[in-house]
């Protein structure tokens, strides 16, 4: 019984947690979740594992629950591999992977409290932050 309760608790905590929100969209903006591609608009709640996609002449901006902001230009792909923001447990992690396109990143509370727990991957390298705003282009 205890195990069952623990499992339900774990499952709900893994699947239901909102880690951020889509704030701006232009053109065709999609999120790939559990191998399904969904067209999204402003107000869409994001979860860990989501992949952000923008089509031609399209763009999107999102905000994570710690205040970290990420926006994508056209024809861009960024996956949210990991995201943990638990200040009461001092547990923080951001792991993003950009495979294509253009992006602007501005750090939030995690960048201030635990900058070393932020990783932004591009095909040829990894960007680590020290409390920051930066732009990325992947061709």
């Amino acid at each position: 019984m205890k195990k069952l309760l623990l499992m339900t608790f774990l499952l709900t905590s893994i699947f239901a947690e909102t880690i951020g929100m889509v704030k701006t969209t232009k053109g065709v903006v999609q999120v790939k979740r559990n191998n399904k591609i969904i067209k999204v608009s402003s107000g869409y709640k994001l979860e860990k594992g989501d992949i952000l996609l923008t089509q031609k002449s399209s763009s999107m901006g999102i905000i994570f629950v710690d205040g970290t902001r990420l926006s994508l230009g056209e024809k861009s792909i960024v996956s949210i591999n990991k995201y943990i923001y638990k200040p009461s447990k001092k547990n923080y992690n951001i792991d993003l992977n950009m495979t294509k396109g253009k992006a602007s990143f501005s750090s939030g509370k995690i960048g201030k409290l635990a900058p070393k727990s932020v990783k932004f991957k591009v095909p040829a390298g990894v960007i680590g932050i020290r409390g920051t705003k930066f732009f990325v282009e992947v061709n």
Partner: protein, 221 residues
Amino acid sequence: MSISEILFGFRILVQYLVGLFSIIVLCWLMVADLSASVEEEDVEVSTIVLGKSDKSHNAIVVSHQEQLLDIDKTGQYVALSASKPMPKEPKEMSQEEIGERFSDAIDAEPEKAESFMLYFGHDGRTLKAESQDKLSLIIERIQKKSPCIVDVIGHTDTTGSSEQNIAISLKRAEIIKKLLVELNVDSDTLNVKGFGEEDLLVATADNINEERNRNVEIFIK
């Protein structure tokens, strides 16, 4: 010189010219082919630029093939290619070029998150007058940012046990949530959190009666 000799010479010249022309075409194709393969090599180039930030410490560190490069000045950038080693020094990109190259991403940037602090008197239940006055501004900002996520985070000072303080901080956050819902804020957008003695606004030792730590933070995203 006979006419046939002139014609023969002319034929040789034409053949020579045709030959020369075909050689030129070949060279051009080879050059085109070369430049095409150069472009292919550059396909996986990633450009990383440090932007302007209002934060006091603005810097990134880029790692590539076990090498590290610090970038700590606005406008500095590095271009990475999978097949080449990382440049030793960052280069400079002008604000105009950044604006042009990243215009669509910049236009899509969401507004910054906003934080408001509400303070309680020592009874721990009622808001101080100036905090009470802030509520209308907070509601205005929530409406302006909607759809948004709003955290209502309770903090305490360090008097009492930490278990007690987590309960107290949650209770204070709940008081504020109730106030905001009464003022027509959608309760679904409000996430109540109690941080207790963790993440103090003003760092103090244990059992210190610090007014500035008896607060609720409204964090609007």
